[in-house]
Symmetry: C2
């Protein structure tokens, strides 16, 4: 395991995220879940490095994040986990425990109680600083095609640990 | 001028932003202003590359951004514009036209009507997609030290052009 500054692999992270996706894992009240994400931002504010994710209000992950204090973004730096990402992107944690019904394996987080997804090279362990619901009324019309009756919530996480596992 | 993908220099951008700062320029109703920023995020959502900036509600730039549709982030990749950044970080565009009272020079934007700051190497021309006010009630206590009676608004911009000027 190699500890990294939050920005060391930010370009690789964004490229992987937008090309094949990443896992967003969280837990609350004894339940845990992971979902596939393809959007996100990396930055800095309040003297802290940040990873911001977007989650639809209809997702089980949203239900967990509303009670959670932490999340982890685990990013495969090649497309070798496409099958697992597809599975997590099409199944809901409401109906099944994805960790029991797939080959997904977890490992303990270093700084958070949320696990990382094994097999991914890059991990961002985050503490939730705030959540910001997107209002469609306030969103540029070029983004409206992404919504039916739902909307996204931005979860802004402080990156507590960033590391690579070869 | 070299056109870049939004992520090509994101690490350099974040390092410059957090080490010595960058210029956030906007215009509305015939007025234009630039301010120094040290925070921000770069990412991707809605099929678009994003640059997110934070502006306090007390700033003149906030007044302009509430009416504006575009902004530009101009980033010096070395600290050669420290004096200009200090000036923009301590003076308000409410009291003076910073472009008349300093050595700051502008050049036309490529895709937006907001100018870039000459002398900076890296430029992100953005269209505002949404603005998200930070509620202190919903913000982790570790961030409260940054506020008195004010708060930040996140402006999420679609990066329409990203380029480097040698």
């Amino acid at each position: 395991m190699t500890n990294l500054s939050y920005d060391a692999k930010m370009r690789e992270a964004m490229q992987a995220l937008t090309q094949w996706g990443a896992f967003l894992t969280t837990s609350a009240d004894g339940a845990q879940n992971t979902m596939a994400i393809g959007w996100g931002s990396i930055g800095f504010a309040w003297g802290k490095p940040l990873f911001t994710v977007l989650v639809r209000n209809t997702r089980y992950t949203h239900e967990l994040l509303e009670k959670a204090t932490e999340f982890v973004v685990s990013i495969p730096l090649t497309d070798h986990m496409q099958k697992e990402l597809d599975y997590c992107g099409t199944q809901s944690g409401r109906d099944k425990d994805k960790f029991r019904t797939s080959n997904l394996k977890t490992a303990p987080g270093q700084k958070v109680s949320v696990p990382i997804i094994a097999g991914c090279q890059l991990h961002y362990e985050c503490r939730i600083l705030t959540s910001l619901p997107i209002s469609l009324d306030e969103l540029h019309e070029s983004c409206h095609q992404w919504y039916a009756d739902d909307y996204h919530i931005l979860y802004v996480g402080e990156i507590l640990a960033c590391y690579e596992i070869a």
